[in-house]
């Protein structure tokens, strides 16, 4: 597990801390959505989880390894993969498979093992067949999946994604989310930073940050039902959730409807 223990982080030169006394435990294999307005501290927390940033106070412990322990820095980063918003800033290889191989190759992973890891990572993000493709010829959604494959080749137990779908169109977005679902089913813990509540609904647990502190930690459906809290957090229920809630108000319970199909199926079962 990842244990975040009373963590405060202040950026160098900043007057006030970006995170203030945060504590949370991320279990292996879980799916957590990290939500909150711009500037609430989501991205800072993401970077603390894999040791890219080191807490000013408190500590982050990844499967028993303290991220402040410099001797374990590589182990921590292998355990906790980080995928950022803009795939173009994360791609280093001249072809897809080289890019995926970059991380483990640097760790000195033996050749056969490297081949196996690269092929598995490419298959997991559904880019099989494109191994020799130049990254700039990929669609934005494919590029983001390539960035995920790069992280997967390190065999992380935890995958932290900072708004991985923000720059993608509807198809690219659903492909990335499908891949995350499959990864979690295969045992990887997902920590998904988003301000799209429709995406947060995929998580078992939602942690909402507000000005550097945890303002909510619970299920997505309970958060969506609390209008006052949603407003205070600067969050907005996805339109389909507002539709479902208005239907409930009219006496038609459509359950935890996440898609248009869910709503219609509940009202007019096929």
């Amino acid at each position: 597990m990842i244990a975040v223990e009373d963590v405060t982080y202040t950026y160098p030169g900043a007057g006030s801390p970006a995170l203030l006394g945060i504590s949370a435990v991320i279990e292996p294999g879980s799916w957590t959505a990290l939500v909150g307005a711009n500037g609430s501290g989501k991205s800072t927390l993401a970077r603390l989880l894999n040791g890219l940033l080191i807490s000013s106070e408190g500590r982050v412990v990844v499967d028993g390894m303290d991220t402040t322990d410099e001797d374990r820095a590589w182990d921590v980063r292998s355990r906790v993969g980080l995928v950022l918003q803009n795939p173009d800033n994360q791609i280093v290889g001249t072809v897809v498979e080289e890019d995926v191989a970059f991380g483990p190759e640097n760790l000195g992973v033996p050749r056969d093992e490297l081949r196996r890891r690269v092929d598995e990572a490419i298959a997991a993000v559904r880019l099989t067949g494109l191994e020799r493709r130049e990254p700039h010829l990929l669609s934005e959604g494919q590029k983001q999946r390539l960035a995920i494959a790069g992280a997967l080749a390190m065999r992380p137990a935890y995958l932290v994604l900072d708004e991985p779908t923000a720059m993608l169109d509807a198809d690219g977005r659903s492909d990335v989310l499908d891949v995350l679902r499959e990864l979690q089913a295969a045992g990887t813990a997902i920590i998904h930073i988003t301000h799209d509540l429709a995406e947060a609904l995929l998580a078992q647990r939602v942690i909402a940050l507000q000005r550097g502190t945890i303002a909510y930690d619970g299920s997505a459906t309970a958060l969506l039902a609390d209008d006052a809290l949603m407003n205070a957090l600067g969050l907005e229920a996805p339109p389909i959730a507002r539709l479902a809630s208005a239907l409930r108000g009219a006496g038609l319970d459509v359950g935890a409807a996440r898609t248009a199909e869910d709503v219609v199926e509940a009202l007019w079962p096929s």
Binding site: A37, N38, L168, D169, A198, P239, I240, V264
Partner: protein
């Protein structure tokens, strides 16, 4: 007075082995006060269309006329690219916004900068001296819009203006667009049209470089099927009503607003029972 594109076609790398057609026979007109939405998936030709409209690219076929003239006159057509805040360079917000009108040798360049900042809700008195690099996401995006508005364009082209912003930032950008529209025709390119549909006048949907749908928002809601058939995804709220219709629900006019959509569905459900 209009920005008129007539039957535009464009092929990248024309005449080479790598020729790739990006846009085929696309037309549109943008008048002051309008908000035209250009939607489509990545690679559908949206960005190429923006470049043609602003004069950054010349069409292989067809014409672009800005108030009857060829595009390219500085300041007439303003364009805000994706993630524009990465292009800030000045030490203060005011200097960043002043750069455009000063280059265009406006005699009242400072007034133009002040007006532009006021119109995006960031008055020069409180934001002018800030470093552009210390702004929140929503503030930064609005300064980027002000950078362009300060040149007093008659037509404002925005590429994904709300991408990556939270609710507060997005609402502030939408408010700035509403103000800009009082003076200029606004064209918004997006792959996420839901937030703009309630205020848009027309929608041009591109699929593989061609117009898959071109009409008013009302026309789109009346019959969203061609739009969907072109591979464009309808907002969930609209889609729920389209699917309900397909199952026999009587819905006379499809609503964009979730609460009105719920009323439509509830009424149809009652009628069916």
């Amino acid at each position: 007075m209009a920005l008129v594109a007539d039957a535009l076609s464009y092929t990248y790398g024309s005449g080479t082995a790598f020729a790739a057609s990006a846009l085929t026979d696309v037309s549109l007109a943008l008048e002051p006060g309008e908000l035209v939405l250009v939607v489509g998936a990545t690679g559908s030709g949206k960005s190429t269309l923006l470049r043609l409209l602003s004069g950054l690219l010349e069409p292989d076929a067809g014409t672009v006329l800005v108030d009857g003239e060829k595009p390219g006159r500085p300041g007439r057509v303003g364009i805000v690219f994706q993630n524009p805040e990465t292009q800030f360079f000045a030490e203060t917000v005011f200097d960043d916004v002043l750069f455009g009108p000063r280059n265009l040798r406006f005699p009242d360049a400072e007034d133009a900068a002040r007006e532009a900042l006021a119109s995006v809700g960031l008055p020069a008195e409180s934001f002018g001296d800030r470093s552009p690099f210390t702004l929140s996401g929503g503030e930064a995006r609005r300064v980027a819009v002000a950078d362009v508005l300060a040149m007093r364009p008659a037509y404002l082209l925005l590429d994904e203006p709300t991408a990556g912003l939270d609710r507060e930032g997005r609402d502030a950008v939408l408010a700035a667009i509403a103000v800009a529209r009082e003076r200029a025709g606004v064209l918004v390119v997006t792959h996420d049209p839901e937030q703009f549909l309630p205020v848009a006048t027309r929608v041009l949907a591109l699929a593989s470089g061609s117009a898959a749908f071109d009409g008013s928002v009302g026309e789109l809601l009346e019959d969203p099927v061609p739009y969907e058939r072109a591979g464009l995804s309808l907002p969930d709220v609209v889609k729920a009503q389209v699917l309900a219709r397909a199952r026999g629900a009587a819905i006379s006019s499809i609503a964009l607003d979730p609460v009105r959509a719920a009323a439509n569905l509830a009424e149809a459900r009652g009628a069916l029972r």
